[in-house]
Amino acid sequence: MESAGHQPVLIIVTLLISAFLSPLLYRWRKFLSGMVLLAALTGAFVTALTLLGQVARSGELSYYLGNWPPPWGIELVIDPLRVYMLLVVTGVSLWIFVYALRDLEHELHHDVIGWYYSLYALLVASMSAMTLTNDLFNLFVLMEICAISACAIITIKDKRECLEAGFKYLIMSAMGTGCFLLGVAMIYMVTGYLNFSFIQTGLAAALSEYPLNIFTAAALFIVAFGTKAALFPLHVWLPDAHASAPSPSSAMLSGLVIKIYAFALFMIFYRVFPRSLLDAIPLNEIILWLGAMGVMFGSIYAMLQTDLKKMLAYSSIGQIAFIFMGIGLDQPLALTGGLYHIMVHAFTKSMLFMSAGAIIYSTGVRRISDLAGIGRVLPIPLLAFTIGSASMIGLPGTGGLISKWYLALGALETGRIFFLLVILASSLLNAIYYMPIVINAFMSGDEFKEKVKTVPPSMQATLVVGILLVVISGIFSRQIIVLFEQALTSLY
């Protein structure tokens, strides 16, 4: 394996530094502070692009932190799948941040915006590092940073419900990380390694000697990542947390944070666990059934909501479960669908939350029933909402269709038509709760009554970018799919 340049660690360090700088600068020059973080995020995204170029040229790369070789030092690995995830993380967080610059002025108290920038930078830094790290203990540390900063960008809005939701999230999340740490300890006990690749060989040998330790560790991991990624039935914290947070936070949390854990679980399954372990106990089967239940229940709960952001939050539970179903089906095509859905849902749900944010920004309306006729006064946010809904349903021309296509193909390939029906049923349910909102917004005979404030151009522009992203991911998906196919064949 070749060694990479310093770009991987540069991404993380730049973001960490800007996390320190932002609140300090904010006291001096408010505008500059935002620009510094914007520059850091842009830098991170561009660097991730150069990494993509490197991976395309020379395949898998690794980077030893502080030049300590594994198994002692921390290793960062750059392979196609990780770079894909890194690009999604940095790209989407850059996109959301442009929106946040204006929206936060409206949602937060002026004193805390500097701190918000800091937390945002920390969150992105930890997520970027989580995609790259090849070390279990390092992953644990990053999960903690991620969890705390994610919690803080909810509670930063000092409302009672935010504090309550943040607290619930913190407890659940701490439980998750606790489970993870226990699992790591058990793995360390039987193998003596923390590096993914070393563990994989070590576990294969240790499986026959210490099966119970390893099974317990596997169970702990499922609970840990299930909680963090809101896998049914461990999703209880999500609706409150995502719905009460400021809209950019909701977009980040629903769009990226839950997915990073789903991705981490994918990494644990295919990079840490040896094939013999996955064959020995039905881990994928458990994930598959939980995923299928999540898909159905998430949609059903969402149908019952009256608050727009709550509905979007419940819909996220259903959508994240698609990604888990991809892992659960344990088949390259289904994994392709699941991984692609990470990106599609990051685009779609972030855009939906941002358009909900724009609606709240300009009118203050949150109740779904009060949205009648709003499409005529806020055309761009509601157009974004419409396209987002189409992608959620999986209509042609949007990214949602591509991920569903591959998940369905994977389900057929493994001969499990039942799960294909689950996917189709969930599409129908999505249609049933998204469409009336759109119809009501554009076609209702009533005029919209509330007072309307114009949505700032930068927020409108991010929504337009979102529409383009969702449509492009539905049309020009071939390259990414081919990349997945190549990367995933190495797993089987």
């Binding site: 349903i393 999986g394 209509l395 042609p396 021309g397 591509i402 569903k404 296509w405 369905a408 193909l409 057929l412 390939e413 038509i417 294909l420 189709l424 599409s427 129908l428 249609a431 049933i432 469409m435 009336p436 119809i439 076609m443 209702s444 005979g445 049309i475 998906s477 071939r478 799919i481 081919v482 196919e485």
Partner: protein, 506 residues
């Protein structure tokens, strides 16, 4: 013409209306007249471009070209053969007339700046369906057309329209998911969904049967097949009349078109015959024919009666398709044309009546023939064609269908056709006869006050010339294509049937 220019023309036919949609939206702000003119121009250009393909088709040309790979092994591609051409030409012709008709009809309506772009966009999507080269592209355009057509259906934005529209949308999504399911199974079994490879599924299997049923649900829903017709009688009447004419006259046919493609390009005729799956289609078609006609009898709203009649008429097409022999298929394709002319004429005429007098209830139409002789005359002509009175085109399609049924040794189907014709007569004649031979209730008292006058009074209060021209052209088509010795549409249908049954050549 060489292949390359044919492909360019096809792409333009689909792209032109789609590109014109934002232009129309923009022009709306400047001038209404310009917008109307441009809408007609676009529809006319699409029609003329489609006709340009005729020489190529006459020589038995077939085009299959991949344009853009959306996923590995899954493309957006175009396909042209005689069936695509026939339907594309028909669709753009009806669209042109309906657009012309719309100009005056919609002048009184609200939200025209939404109506015209949507009308033209659906034309593009519809042509896309007929030119799609694989099931996936077909699915994309099918969904696009179905969902955008929703805006036409709920145009009035009344509670009733919104309710009907919602039902339509939910059914469309269900149909779309069924199609998705079917297509993905075909992809799984055959590794391709292209229409250019001949037969994709050659062996009967459980999955293949599931896929067939999924296609029946997806396309049958659109074609108003029993038991998935429930949206149709609500959705078609609430739309503005030119949109109803298009929905019933053209968009229903996309479902039938999809089924034809599935039967001949995904499965083979031999497979369907040997496995007997075509009987599923046949049984559903028979129920659809009888049920549609019977329920139409009970309707008093003219547009609802026409909508139910559409259900039964599409049943003829499906029946012809399920018999799987030359005459029956010719009849089915010819009936697609016939029904498009007849039903569009009927809906446009009904629209003119509603527009001019506000009458929707059939019982109030007494004496209307004296008020609006041209409209009612055209209506009568199209209605007589529906019943199947000899020189009209409806007779020709029923005759050919009946021949096909007899060829297949199924006299029962002929009985079904006869019963349905009888029912057609029962529900169309009570509209026509009172319209000409009875006097309007209370007319004498209100207008003249000279009670007891038995003079037949012609007080002409016709629709505008533009509207009439569209209605009359369609009505004349019903005679022309039933009577002419050199019936180009009939020979096209005959060639199409030969082409499909012969597996790609005449």
């Amino acid at each position: 013409m060489d292949q390359a220019s044919i492909i360019i023309i096809m792409v333009v036919i689909v792209a032109l209306p789609v590109v014109m949609t934002p232009v129309l939206m923009y022009i709306c702000r400047i001038s209404d007249r310009l917008r109307n003119g441009l809408a007609i121009l676009t529809a006319a250009a699409t029609f003329i471009l489609t006709l340009l393909l005729y020489p190529f088709i006459r020589d038995g040309g077939v085009v299959q070209q991949s344009l853009f790979e959306i996923l590995p092994n899954l493309e957006i591609s175009i396909h042209l053969d005689i069936l695509s051409f026939s339907l594309a030409a028909l669709a753009s012709f009806i669209w042109l007339l309906c657009t012309i008709y719309s100009i005056d009809y919609m002048a009184k309506e609200h939200a025209c700046s939404r109506y015209y772009p949507v009308l033209i966009f659906t034309l593009g999507a519809c042509q896309g369906i007929f030119f799609a080269g694989d099931l996936f592209s077909l699915f994309v355009f099918f969904e696009l057309m179905s969902i955008i057509a929703y805006i036409l259906i709920i145009h009035e934005q009344t509670e009733e329209a919104l309710k009907a529209g919602y039902k339509y949308l939910v059914m469309t999504i269900i149909g779309g998911l069924a199609l998705f399911f079917g297509i993905i199974i075909v992809f799984e079994i055959g590794g391709t969904v292209s229409l250019g490879v001949g037969v994709i599924i050659g062996e009967p299997s459980l999955l293949a049967l599931i896929a067939f049923i999924c296609f029946l649900i997806g396309f049958g829903m659109k074609a108003g097949m029993f038991p998935l017709h429930v949206w149709l009688p609500d959705a078609h009447p609430v739309a503005p009349s030119p949109a109803s004419a298009l929905l019933s006259g053209v968009m229903l046919k996309t479902g039938a078109y999809g089924l034809i493609r599935v039967v001949f390009h995904v499965y083979s005729v031999d497979l369907l015959r040997s496995s007997g799956w075509n009987n599923i289609l046949a049984i559903l078609a028979v129920i659809t024919i009888l049920l549609g006609s019977a329920v139409a009898l009970t309707q008093t709203d003219i547009k609802r009666r026409l909508a139910y009649s559409s259900i039964s008429q599409l049943g003829y097409v499906l029946l012809g398709l399920s018999i799987l022999n030359n005459n029956a298929l010719t009849g089915a394709v010819f009936h697609i044309f016939s029904h498009a002319f007849m039903k569009s004429a009927l809906f446009l005429a009904a629209g003119a009546i509603i527009w001019k007098t506000g009458i929707r209830n059939i019982n109030d139409m007494k004496g209307l023939g004296r008020l609006m002789p041209v409209t009612m005359g055209s209506f009568s002509l199209a209605a007589l064609a529906m019943i199947g009175i000899p020189p009209l085109n409806g007779f020709l399609s029923k005759w050919t269908l009946a021949l096909g049924a007899l060829d297949a040794g199924m006299p029962g189907y002929v009985m079904v056709l006869l019963i349905s014709s009888l029912l057609n007569a029962l529900y169309y004649l009570p509209i026509i006869i009172p319209a000409f031979f009875e006097s309007p209730e209370g007319e004498e008292i209100n207008d003249h006050g000279d009670e007891g006058s038995h003079e037949v009074l012609f007080k002409i209060k016709e629709a505008t010339p533009l509207m009439l021209s569209a209605i009359v052209i369609l009505a004349l088509c019903t005679i022309f294509f039933g009577l002419t010795p050199n019936n180009i549409i009939f020979s096209l249908s005959r060639l199409t049937a030969l082409f499909l049954l012969g597996g790609g050549s005449f």
